[in-house]
Amino acid sequence: MTPRLFYRKATNYVMLTLTGLCALVAVGILFFILGYLLWNGGTSLNLDFFTKLPVPVGESGGGMANALVGTGKLLLIASLVGVPIGFLGGVYLSEYGGSTFSFLVRYMTDLLNGVPSIVIGIFAYTVIILRQHHFSTLAGGIALGIMMIPIAVRSSEEFLRAVPASLREAAVALGASKSRAIVTVVIPAALDAIITGIMLDLARVAGETAPLIFTAFGNQFWSPGWNQPTSSLPVMIYSYAISPYDEWHRQAWSAGFVLLSLVLFVNVFSRLVLARKGHARS
């Protein structure tokens, strides 16, 4: 073996090993996050966390029941805003697309997807909070709903496009109108995948904090109705984590553990479902 060849082979093995290490470290970070949260959050988690309200500084115990309900309410509003617009927008792009207008829609969807979440928060603030002069669940939910739109559009469009053209043809050849074929054949064929895509979308906004800080704000108590400030899991994690109290830090870890479990569970489940159905990407 000449020195040159030896050098080339050595470079080959060294560099290949290094790239493998990069991948391993990236995956290692995930397990580190999981492990650390499990250890720190899981151990301090108890039933009170799910059933009790936060307690004032100095008292121990208490939970984040109001934040869990708050997150649920925010996600409900977000779905009511984001899912219809996103899903129907996806139907438009997949079934009625091809025009200059659909180019514009696609462009604006991409643009919206790139808008930093804090800017969406500003938007909800100027449009809703400035008018009604108080923080509200509604404003937070709408902000999250707007954040859901781009991903809902894209996944709906992608999964509808994956429905074979032969099914559309078969329906139309039986005398179904275009809209009838879409509603009775195309959408049902893609529905599982679309729902899974929307679950992923929900999991993504469930962890969003920035758009909520000055829309849904926070609340140490139950938030009645839909028009009052509400606490939410991510905002609780944030405000407890930056507080100076050890007891609150412990609560922040528990909340982080719950939030991450929720998000990862939905992600793993959805991605497995999509992979089994043969959709390469989520």
């Binding site: 080959n12 290949l16 927008g89 829609v105 930093p116 800017v119 500003i122 707007i146 998000v263």
Partner: protein, 325 residues
């Protein structure tokens, strides 16, 4: 030849069918309209966001003009605001994050696309994409309680080896530009990996085979042929990651130290555009401060808009090249 049953069916069908077809035709129009409105509302909402940012930042724009971008004082008492410390903090932390994330991300992408057997590659990619789903507030939580103490304990070692550089001078409290850069790096690595991997996988097999057939080693064929072929797409993935890190709010807010100053040292605390909005907006009592924060939001929007657009063009042109070959 025809049975009577069929001919009677046919005889009465046109009338019934015409009524029905009218109804269907109008259903088509309605369906068309509904999905069109949904699509149009996306265009409307996005435009509305831009409009609101522009309208509500009017006071600040009139007061400070372009000097807003270059001013460095942040004086709520006299209502004099400049954005430079925030722009500086945003750019420095993002640049730092890229510096750390690029070698790692591209390296891992090369491993996943070129070397790992498909099963292992898919499993690892699955896990790495999960990393991208972790909410940013969780990264912030780990940043405060894990990364900051870790950096603090590594401080003597950093000073000993790199202390001669101007980037590692001054007191170090843990929360700093360095910590923010670190957290951002961890957050954007999954993006770089998963998009770069896809771009690499799209490189036609004949490119690799041609290089290997000429006697190149696996690494040489990858580094000299495949990576340059996918080059623009990889750069695109880096820009997408950059856009994300510029707009990242929570994790940065929790570890950057929230001090509006411009310091050469990465040990120093700083502030980012998104962080100042997150911290100040809810309590912004004066009209002018709110308007200023909204103008900062507009600056952030413009930055991410430009970088996203650029990234998309790069990725689209590479994938076209791959398809054409």
């Amino acid at each position: 030849m025809e049975t009577s049953e069929i001919s009677t069916n046919r005889a009465r069908s046109p009338e019934r069918a015409r009524r029905f077809s009218d109804r269907l035709a109008s259903g088509d129009t309605a369906a068309n309209l509904i999905v069109f409105l949904a699509a149009a509302s996306i265009v409307f909402i996005t435009s509305w966001i831009v409009f609101e940012l522009y309208r509500n930042s009017a006071a600040s724009r009139h007061e400070f003009g372009w000097s807003f971008l270059t001013g460095s004082s942040w004086d709520p008492v006299n209502e004099h605001y400049g954005a430079l410390p925030f722009i500086y903090g945003t750019i420095v932390t993002s640049a730092l994050a890229l510096l750390m994330a690029i070698p790692f991300g591209v390296g891992a992408a090369i491993f996943l696309a070129e070397l790992a057997p498909p099963r292992i590659s898919n499993a690892l990619t699955f896990l790495i994409e999960l990393l991208a789903a972790v909410p940013s507030v969780i990264y912030g939580l780990l940043g405060i309680f894990v990364l900051v103490p870790m950096l603090k304990s590594a401080e003597p070692a950093i000073r000993a080896t790199l202390g001669f550089l101007p980037f590692f001078k001054g007191p170090f409290y843990g929360v700093s530009l360095l910590a923010a850069g670190f957290v951002l790096a961890v957050m954007i690595v999954p993006f770089i990996i998963s998009i770069s991997r896809e771009v690499l996988l799209a490189v036609p097999a004949d490119q690799r085979e041609a290089a290997l057939a000429l006697g190149a080693t696996k690494w040489e064929s990858t580094w000299d042929i495949v990576v340059p072929f996918a080059g623009k797409g990889i750069v695109g993935s880096i820009f997408l990651a950059l856009a994300r890190s510029l707009g990242e709010t929570m994790a940065v807010t929790m570890v950057i130290g929230n001090t509006p100053q411009i310091s050469m040292s990465l040990f120093a605390p700083g502030y980012s555009i998104a962080a100042v909005i997150a911290n100040e907006f809810a309590e912004a009592s004066s009209e002018m401060l709110r308007s200023t924060l909204i103008e900062l939001g507009m600056v952030l929007f413009a930055l991410t808009f430009l970088i996203n657009g650029f990234a998309r063009i790069l990725i689209i042109t590479t994938s076209k090249k791959g398809n054409a070959t």
